[in-house]
């Protein structure tokens, strides 16, 4: 095989891996949108908050340390212990469930039957609140996250692929980050579990029922509050997984909350209401933007990755507004 061809495959592979990470964020959006018709602007910040909490718990940081020190003139920063990754993850899940309960009690409960735009505004408020709250709780410094997932290029894969090039071609093997492979596997498992959950369990059915018709759902005995807490907990969990993967890759810092922006074009492509759509959309965007940068980028001055996804999404809005897998909405007039 020629080296150019192998390079192209490498670009696609890495694009797909990046796409999985986009998809992880998009998944959180889809879950909440499906169940309540709310576009949750705070999804990105939830990922940041979950990652911050995970690091904080794992390293035994004192929550609100700056606030405590400034108020009482003390100098506490760390407890004397560190937690194993699994325990820290479990505790973070508990925190995200508590967060879901608070969201229901403090926000959603008071906005029943309001227009979607009102709920959307509420999530914008929530996003800014969480951003500040996360900073206050854990500090704004860039943190390193290590939950024990191996990282770095796979030598095995490099060795495997180095022999594929034709004799005499310059090719040093393909680069693949092990972390990305892990992320892909985890995302796949997550999608499978969520699909099984929503298709074949009582709660999953209840969740889809609430998404379709509130009144009818109530009339068969489904509690809206229970469902909302459930769905925000699940999307909090998805946010944790996304925050964990991105945090391990590029450190836990404020910019983590901006990955939500990359999820938008993914959603437009895959459709706001489809769990598999989020994954396929992510893969297309990931591979598409890397390929575009690789082939077209050099011709037009590069840095196409910043805008390619959005242009692709715009094209989709024109020709297929419901996305690839979204439900087509037909209004009878």
């Amino acid at each position: 095989m020629s080296a150019d061809f192998l390079y192209t495959i490498e670009v696609i592979l890495n694009g797909l891996m990046a796409g999985v990470l986009y998809a992880l964020v998009a998944l959180g959006f889809v879950l909440i949108f499906k169940a309540s018709g709310i576009f949750n602007y705070a999804q990105g910040v939830m990922a940041l908050f979950a990652a911050l909490t995970l690091v904080g718990l794992q390293e035994g940081r004192v929550p609100f340390a700056h606030l405590i020190n400034a108020t009482f003139g003390t100098h506490v920063h760390n407890f004397d212990w560190t937690l194993p990754a699994v325990a820290a993850i479990a505790l973070t899940v508990v925190v995200m469930v508590l967060f879901a309960i608070c969201v229901e009690k403090l926000i959603l409960k008071h906005l029943v039957n309001q227009e979607p735009i009102i709920l959307f505004m509420a999530t914008i408020g929530l996003a800014y609140f969480m951003e500040g709250f996360g900073d206050l709780m854990w500090g704004s410094d860039v943190k390193k996250l290590n939950v024990g997932i191996p990282q770095g290029g796979s030598l095995w894969f490099e060795d495997l692929t180095i022999g594929w090039a034709a004799e005499g071609e310059k090719f040093y093997g393909m680069y693949i980050d092990i972390l990305d492979v892990w992320a892909a596997v985890i995302a796949l498992v997550l999608v499978l579990v969520l699909t099984i959950f929503s298709q074949y369990t009582k709660s999953g059915r209840a969740l889809r029922a609430v998404a379709d018709d509130h009144q009818a759902a109530l009339s068969v005995g489904i509690s809206l509050r229970m469902i909302w807490v459930l769905v925000w907990s699940i999307s909090g969990f998805v946010a944790l997984v996304a925050g964990m993967m991105w945090g391990a890759k590029s450190g836990v810092q404020f910019s983590l909350s901006l990955i939500a922006l990359k999820a938008l074009p993914v959603l437009m492509l895959g459709g706001f209401t489809s769990i598999p759509g989020a994954i396929v959309g992510g893969l297309i965007i990931g591979a598409g933007e890397k390929l575009f940068e690789f082939f077209i980028g050099p011709l037009i001055g590069g840095a196409t990755e910043n805008w390619f996804a959005y242009v692709l999404a715009l094209l989709f809005l024109v020709f297929r507004p419901q996305g690839l897998f979204g439900e087509k909405i037909i209004e009878r007039v």
Partner: protein, 269 residues
């Protein structure tokens, strides 16, 4: 689904399942229901009729907990009912259908009817996720009841069809199926025959009569149009402008002057 012992083919022993006592419902300054009392016997078909805007649907919404009346009491099975959320009332055994079909449009007919079993399924999320043993058995048991409902309503051929794609008459039938799957002690039907042609109306009447006689289900239904209702119901409440103007057997009600006036209008002199 056993036949209630006191009910044989719509003939009722006079045990009230539900008593409505002096209900007053206001929306701001508008009085939707004005001091209405009536009862529903075990095993009967009870109709609430009246012209448009008489407050029939509001009455049903009070029974099912969507509206909370300002005054009055609702007694269910001999006990005064506290103010409850609609989903709690569903758990008590009251199921309903809606005037403008309220189905879960994205789901198949089978899944829609399966949601009707919600109040009977006790296993939690996690045991269901793992999908073993008791949770699985529960799913199968409930599925069996759902299949019986589907057979009863003769909708086997549309089991897997998303309900949004079904014609109106069949959607109404699926909605009835969802309510029946709950094996309700009291079944509320909000204009079950609205918008149907004569044939569909006859089918629906037959299903309602069969539900009542075969399963002994107590039915309370609202209708706008007197015709069919008079044929299938045991007793009729007539409402007009939020007030009760008649109550009794179909024959009594049909010959009641106040009812005739409300339906045909009265001349001014």
């Amino acid at each position: 689904m056993s036949k209630a012992s006191i009910s044989i083919g719509g003939v009722t022993g006079k045990v009230p399942v539900m008593e409505i006592k002096n209900i007053v419902l206001r929306f701001g300054g508008v009085v939707a229901i004005q001091d209405i009392s009536f009862d529903i016997y075990e095993g009967e078909i009870r109709a609430i009729i009246g012209p448009n805007g008489a407050g029939k649907s509001s009455m049903l919404n009070v029974i099912n907990g969507f509206y909370h009346p300002q005054e009055g009491e609702v007694w269910f099975r001999g006990r005064k009912r506290a103010a409850m959320k609609p989903y709690q009332i569903a758990h008590q055994g009251i199921a309903r259908t809606f005037q403008n079909i309220a189905l879960f449009k994205g789901m198949s007919a089978l899944d829609n009817i399966m949601t009707g079993r919600f109040t009977h399924m006790k296993k939690g999320v996690f045991s269901q996720m793992i999908w073993k043993g008791s949770a699985e058995r529960e799913e199968y048991e409930n599925r069996e009841i759902v299949e019986r409902v589907i057979d009863f309503l003769e909708i086997q051929h549309i089991r897997k069809t998303p309900v949004g794609a079904l014609p109106y008459g069949l959607q109404k039938r699926v909605e009835l199926g969802r309510a029946l799957a709950a094996e309700p002690q009291l079944l509320l039907l909000d204009e079950p025959m609205a918008g149907m042609n004569v044939e569909e109306k006859e089918d629906m009447s037959r299903y309602i009569l069969d539900v009542n006689s075969e399963f002994g289900t107590t039915v309370a239904l609202i209708e706008h149009d007197m015709g069919v209702v008079m044929d299938i119901s045991d007793r009729v409440v007539v409402m007009d402008y939020g007030k009760k103007i008649g109550d009794g057997s179909p024959d009594e009600v049909r010959n009641d002057q106040a009812v005739i006036d409300a339906y045909l209008g009265v001349s001014d002199n």
